[in-house]
């Protein structure tokens, strides 16, 4: 049996065939290289080159799978379902583009910010941990094997705990924030493993496509259902689903600014992708317990998150803490889009994953520039800086507008689609009309806290003793690239909308979209 499962190696491989594994391999090999060379001067250039390479690979992968096909790569030549396979389709490639893009664009920002906030002797290991975090996030999204998801999840989580703890050079509360994050994150990952064990007990396989087929054959017995519950709760902790979000405010506030940028834009999004993959592709969306979970658990919790987190964000006096609570609210929007279980809702959710990623990265970069120039991120420290640092605060305002969902920015399309999906469902069930109203009301709340930040920056008198000048160029260029992307994606929405729609269709197809490569032919 072992010999026949081995794929014939007669087909010559080109570099293009190896793209899925290269995406993970490039950052994964850079981390030990950075440690091996041990030189602080080489650490940043190596990291930057690796993340640029990862971004290019992710872009090429997205171009390949945009039409609705998928790319499958078998590790070690062992064909699935026996071997580990990496499987990229439209949903995958979209999230991969976001993660690698944010990873690449944050590094020039991090060059300045890390020099200011992290101890000099930790820089080499800091960039090595950054590379490992990127590896884990990319691997979590690209893989098609369930236990591989857990392995990469833990790789990214452990490096995240290390990166968050680096903020201790500035504020010792970063240590307790990292510790709390460690405890809660490990419990979440262990719950995920328990759910996976139950799935393995019921089906005997770990390949996502094969799991989908075998679960569809079995129907909904108790093992499969409890596995689903454990997986959703476990990943829900990583997604910062209300009420499992308690680690997020402290971790984002006290981490170094560059780490906040990376985490806010990528960590929760990769976990949301895993939830999407398990809910729609592995567990068929027609299972009643899937529908029940989404309607009864996801939707109410998402609405509570949207309101309560936005409400708390209004009363914050610290930029990073306000943005952290805002992240919890935006994750609520994404989960609400998933809970609608319709094509429009799912497209809105996937689109919001991308839009929120670039918006939050832009906003946290602005906060990081303020930390660089004023030594802290409190509102009173940043009063009136809009006149002394106009370019930085201009980019911050664009990010704020996108967070609210003003037409012309990237955030508008996803919020619009979300309301449209709610109205579509309101035709059958009148309660969804209240949901649509709730979405609009919580967007009004986000206007309040974004306006508070803008008022502090532009409408207050600056401290006459402050020596703040414009942020350095290495910080301004990434910020304005992201701001330009936000505006461009607000006006020319075709690329994003088509890809997100394709991803949503692929996910809603359920198990059909995940047939094992061997059956579809091609000794890939």
């Amino acid at each position: 049996m072992a010999v026949t499962a081995h794929v014939a190696e007669t087909t010559a491989r080109t570099l293009a065939d190896h793209l899925p594994i290269l995406l993970v391999l490039v950052p994964f090999c850079t981390a030990p290289l950075i440690v091996l060379f041990g030189s602080r001067r080489l650490a940043w250039p190596l990291a930057f080159i690796a993340s640029l390479a990862a971004f290019v690979i992710a872009f090429l992968l997205l171009l390949t799978v945009r039409e609705g096909n998928f790319v499958s790569y078998t590790l070690g030549g062992w064909a699935p379902p026996l071997g580990i396979e990496y499987r990229v389709d439209a949903a995958n490639a979209f999230v991969l583009l976001l993660i690698s893009g944010i990873g690449a664009i944050t590094l020039p920002f991090a060059y300045v910010s890390v020099k200011d906030e992290v101890r000099k002797r930790d820089h080499t290991l800091f960039y090595a941990a950054w590379m490992l975090c990127l590896t884990g996030l990319l691997g979590m999204v690209v893989t098609g094997d369930a236990f591989n998801v857990f392995v990469f999840l833990e790789i990214s989580s452990l490096s995240t705990y290390v990166l968050v703890a680096q903020g201790a050079a500035r504020d010792r509360r970063a240590l307790t924030a990292a510790y709390d994050y460690l405890i809660m994150g490990t419990i979440g990952a262990t719950f995920f493993v328990i759910g996976l064990g139950m799935l393995y007990m019921a089906t005997g396989t770990l390949n996502l496509a094969d799991l989908a087929d075998r679960i569809a054959d079995q129907g909904a017995n108790r093992t499969v259902r409890s596995g689903f519950a454990f997986i959703i709760v476990g990943m829900g902790l990583k997604v910062a689903m209300f009420p499992l979000h308690l680690w997020l405010p402290k971790a984002y506030t006290f981490a170094p600014s560059a780490v906040s940028v990376l985490l806010s834009a990528t960590a929760t999004k990769a976990a949301i992708y895993v939830v999407l993959r398990f809910t729609f592709s592995v567990y068929n969306p027609n299972f009643s317990f899937t529908t029940n979970t989404l309607e009864i658990i996801f939707a109410p919790l998402a609405i509570i998150a949207m309101f309560s987190a936005s409400f708390v964000a209004v009363f914050q006096t610290n930029f990073k803490r306000m943005l952290a609570y805002s992240s919890i609210a935006q994750v609520g929007y994404i989960l609400l889009g998933i809970a609608f279980l319709s094509e429009t809702g799912l497209t809105a959710a996937i689109l919001h994953i991308f839009n929120h990623g670039i918006t939050k990265a832009l906003l946290f970069m602005g906060a990081g520039a303020l930390v660089l120039r004023t030594g802290g991120s409190f509102y009173t420290q940043a009063a009136g800086l809009g006149r002394k640092m106009p370019i930085t605060c201009g980019a911050f305002v664009i990010g704020g507008l996108s967070l609210i969902g003003v037409p012309g920015t990237a955030g508008f399309l996803s919020k619009f689609l979300l309301v449209q999906a709610a109205l579509e469902k309101a035709a059958d069930n009148a309660m969804y009309l209240a949901v649509a109203v709730a979405i609009v009301l919580s967007s009004l709340l986000s206007v309040v806290y974004v306006w508070r930040a803008i008022e502090v920056l532009f409408l207050q008198e600056p401290d006459p003793n402050s020596t703040a000048t414009e942020a350095p160029l290495m910080m301004l260029i990434p910020m304005w690239i992201l701001a330009a992307a936000v505006i461009w994606f607000g006006f020319s929405t075709d690329f994003l909308y088509d890809t997100a729609n394709q991803a949503a269709l692929g996910l809603l197809d359920g198990s059909k979209g995940m047939l094992p490569a061997a059956i579809l032919g091609g000794a890939q």
Binding site: E9, R13, H18, C29, A31, L33, L75, G76
Partner: protein, 147 residues
Amino acid sequence: MIYQHLILRVVTKMLVGTIILFALYVQFHGDFSPGGGFQAGVIMSVAFIIYGIVFGLRTVKKVYPEWLVHKTMALGVLIFAGTGIASMIMGYDFLDYDALSPDDPVAGQHLGLLIIEFGVGVTVTGVMVAIYYAFAGRNPSISDKDW
């Protein structure tokens, strides 16, 4: 201080060599008995750690200095990834050990597993010793005299 604990010192000197030998045995007999990279790495690191506990951190750092510990951690990972990249260069998939000996695939699988387990063993040794150095190297809040 080093003239106390005579029994511990003598027994440790006798045991360290045996532990390292046993670690190498466990490393390379992973195919035939329980063993493999991770277990062997932990046993190998125990040799250095017990030497460090009995004879002092400075003494063990003369044998296995801290910069070497960090380099071995990175080196092991690169050995593992390097095997995979070698098979990619030969035209096969990542980590397809048939590439290492195209005429006899079974021998290739054998060789590939040996190499990657060696990489894992090297890394795990480095990591465990690094953890010990990190914890033991902190300045204690109570000095040894006050214990």
